[in-house]
Symmetry: D2
Subunit: 361 residues, 4 copies
């Protein structure tokens, strides 16, 4: 057991209260509140949260947009899901992971019994409940989760451990087919797009191109190893064709959720290439299916979550091999500064922001 | 050499004229004309056309819609591409297939040297020229083609041999992933949709459902083996969920080119399932990519042409195993009746129509 | 609840004794004994065994050969694993399958936490304990198993339900790659070989050839749909080449455990084809790896168990589609006639033998 | 056209003689002889050989072992196949590659019409004739080959261009399945084994282990990036299990042709892992198929040649990405020193040796 874990255990949290960021009502806003420390049920663990990074989803929940209205809660409920922390207590039957271990959360609580879960596709479980969306989340000093959902992360810092969840999205999107020796474009350089640049380079992509309309993000794309970082308002297709002997790119990772970016990706992908869609689209997109997909013989993959647990093994491996995602973290803030964090995310002037629930504000 | 072949060779066609259906000008219409019998160049063969079936593309060309304006010709040029016939002469270097052999045409004339052709994806060759669209076609008594494009079809009738080309589309769409033991829906029961029902059943699909709005086609779907033939104006998704224990179908083959059908297919496909798009969309389709593809973890395959030559081997095998596509042929007409054929296709009151270029009108 | 289930529940079995076939000592033989009805622990179910078919493994255990000495038990322990029966009681936390349901057993008790189990390969779990080999088996009136291992089989007879386990072996071996439109040879027509003939035909194989040295089995191979049933002492390779235009077969399913059969399969497989090894080899085999595998570019798959649960879904689907494996059952015997059953299996004069633990001897 | 090409063309070689290394009789030995410069036939090119590296096969031919007796020639014939050079003349119809271009040879002359060639498996063509084995080879100042077999290599040095052929073997073996984030062992650190270490690292393998019994080769393995270079006479399996949390390695590339190495690889591979066999076995190997392959659920790939042209595209990409195989070249010798080269290869005290046919001895 680590010293930190021991210190944690000096102050057993059960039966006491904790700070948490709570979505209180079905409308915009959120608030720090003192709430009871949750109790781990059978097969569950209680985790002291050391790092909880901010996802675009969290901003949707705080802003209370249509997606949040349709999917969250119901309020009042704590939100936040990208997290890492120390196991501090275990419910009945939770015996695999010792108290004191650093873990990260697979945020999809799946049922393990539906058709999808029983055929290697648990990431699209029919009865998935996502941490911080359907069950109380990790923007709090403590969180409970099924022991099955914990990924032991002993050699990582808490903030990198927390980032394995979105990094896993990038790994999932990149690795639906082979990468080595292939050319790729990442459309959209938000945090997952930036991570995917590193993933593709680490996996031996021949070249990785990145597009965005935000110059700060294009700068970060270069730092992550992009061979070219292109302003999406320019002639992306022409530049990508020129860079690939006229063939177009083998791989498109669409990380922006923008229809314009998707059109560029579909125009730039080589005939018979493949496109991963991960960026979520707030509004429907209008596609010329014949010209953009059918006659080109393109494969389009809808990507959500992480393959359990292939993606996590790969993600751990890449970090161990030296994949450095730390440059993507631009801010570390105490939980109390959540409003600043959400504003920064929305403004686009941030990479990944890590909230620290144990820090005094 | 067969008797028929010998008879053919009694009347060497080179240097003479033949009947052909010619698109004469850049506008609606077409006409039967006497044109010179073409000469096979190096690596090419001359084929006496015994059967040439009508594809929707041919109607587009005759009607001269936007697709035709963008892709055909230029006029004047003979059109028609789904065909079978007897080899009657060979150009220099064409030595593989003997004169007298019954062959069908792979209608994509590909360059064999581009990136796609050199990586097992010749069906999406960057420089493809399609028979009857970019080079003179098979609605004629004779046609030339590269010997490479001829598929020896010795045990088939000419009309079934000609139908291997669209049947290959169905095989390609169905076989992008495994079929045995899976449930499938075919949306759109035109000729290729109908063929794909037979293909899926032959390949051990657990159940094959079919949708259309045309009762005649739904009747044919049942004849081809569909377990359920459903009126697409009813609650398709509800019926398919009910038929699959609530899971939805594993496989969608979208054969209609209708956005409404595609929405139904995407709603009915099980999470993590797969969708083949073959039906061409005349107008753009508006999709909720997040809900219909991304969060469901669906794979979408754009399908065009036939894999060279995997698809042809499979197609031949299925016919040999007993796949019966003859019920799909509803009309056999002399070439001179082309106008009637095109009208029938457009009306939807026909399955496949085979034109007979050698028949006296 | 079915009438039979209700009847079962009239006589609650817990705390009483039952008939079981027990391997009593580390040497040849076995005996029917009265032993306590086992109690389902947490997550387990108690099943009344209605059918338990005999596997070659059971004969090895009874004969006490080297494999049995290395792998069984330790004695005394009940053996038998291919089974189906009615759930009659459930331990704590076993809530998915209602009492009264007919289930079959996935016989691999896996740990669900090792590297293999967490990456979609539970069939090769590092800590697998097989029912009737490492834990008390199903040649008994009752058996306990993890609820996770039960496959609901409501529309099947108990004997067919029991046969899903070896049928799943055949499905696993056949479906490692696509089958439709491919030629295949099954070397060895024991029960799993015979089942695999039916599986391949149902999945649209172009042709299925079968080999064995036992004329009775070759007769059964024809009944299961083999296009050719060949005496393995004759020129198998020549006949298979002749049947496949000189190309050789696309698929080899090696079901005999005989090195001679494997050599024939490797010689008969087409360059770049695939070979599934399922038959267990009692003695090492000597292979010319360069000529038989490397220069031919062949893929060899070691097959054990069933993919959890892809194989079970496929197996259920094939039975629902009409796969008829009933002709493979040649004997139905009360449990007390186990000696006769084992002798018949060893003699080769039997297909599958089903023992009936509830039948009076 | 490059200056070198222009210089070449100043001295048109047709109708003159050249130096070549000729296998003169069916017995040990070879000799430098003056032979006519070959003429390119239809579709062929004449290439001035700038570099020709030595393969183990060449030593077999010179030594005249059983494989050579069964496969070579017949004598008298020039041998040598790994090569690069400048196109100096073109036969009729060879129009794709301009005179003056640096090319490397795909050494398999395949027929492009057999079942394998028409289904994406030309590397196992039924009628393959290998350069320098069945048709006159490249240990000569000039060689002819089909233009189809030439791979344009404009940005490489001739010696690296020549090495693409064995490097392609390594790429083929490594890339039969995904590599990124996986652990691998390379058994046998001859030139192809050494190259494969670099390939695996470039493609993002989590760790690459290497085994050999030759300390010089183990040193080179480290230079190529091996995480561990292990003496194959020690406890390889124990060390690899220890290095992989007890799981064993995901990937085995067997490059030695030694049964002992293969046994180690099969014992070290994780359950459900994969093994590529590339090293050719001079004598049959005896395997416990049940324990080593079947019960472990292992996939074994026979690897020969290079996928046309997927492997070549990947190989080019890896070199472009920075894969450095130059350390593997230990000697550069004039063609006249062939005997020294063969002796060095046989002794194991060399990496790759490049012969220079244009150099004065």
């Amino acid at each position: 057991m680590t010293t930190e874990a021991a210190a944690v255990l000096d102050s057993p949290p059960l039966g006491t209260t904790m700070r948490a960021l709570v979505k209180e009502t079905a409308g915009p806003g959120a608030a720090i509140r003192e709430v009871p420390v949750p109790q781990p049920g059978p097969g569950q663990i209680l985790v002291k949260v050391l790092a909880a990074s901010v996802c675009g989803t969290d901003v949707h929940i705080e802003r209370w947009d249509k997606w949040a209205q349709d999917n969250f809660g119901p309020p009042p409920m704590t939100f936040g899901h990208e997290m890492a922390g120390i196991v501090v207590a275990r419910g009945d039957g939770a015996t695999r992971i010792p108290v004191g271990e650093l873990i990260a959360a697979e945020t999809h609580w799946v049922d393990w019994t539906c058709y999808q879960c029983r055929t290697g596709r648990a990431h699209v479980c029919q009865n998935n409940r996502t941490l911080g969306v359907k069950v109380p989340g990790a923007f709090a000093q403590y969180v409970v989760m099924p022991e099955m959902n914990a990924w032991v992360s002993e050699h990582l810092t808490p903030e990198i451990a927390a980032l394995q969840e979105p990094l896993g999205n990038a790994v999932h999107a990149a690795f639906v087919e082979e990468v080595a020796g292939q050319t790729a474009v990442v459309t959209g350089c938000g945090p997952i797009g930036l991570m995917s640049i590193g993933v593709l380079k680490m996996a031996g992509a021949r070249a990785v191109y990145a597009t965005d309309i935000n110059p700060e993000r294009l700068e970060m794309a270069k730092k992550m190893g992009a061979d070219l970082a292109l302003d999406a308002r320019e002639d992306i297709v022409g530049q990508l064709k020129a860079a690939t002997d006229g063939n177009g790119v083998d791989i498109v990772l669409e990380m922006s959720g923008s229809a314009a970016a998707l059109h560029q990706g579909l125009a730039a992908v080589t005939n018979g290439g493949r496109v991963s869609l991960l960026g979520t689209h707030a509004v429907p997109a209008t596609l010329d299916l014949s010209q953009e997909i059918i006659f080109k013989g393109v494969r389009v993959y809808g990507i959500t979550g992480r393959r359990l647990w292939d993606t996590w093994y790969r993600t751990t491996a890449l970090l161990e091999e030296g994949l450095n995602i730390e440059p993507i973290i631009t801010h570390r803030l105490p939980l109390a500064d959540y409003q600043k964090a959400f504003d920064l995310v929305e403004s686009g002037h941030a990479g990944k922001i890590v909230l620290l629930p144990q820090a005094e504000s």
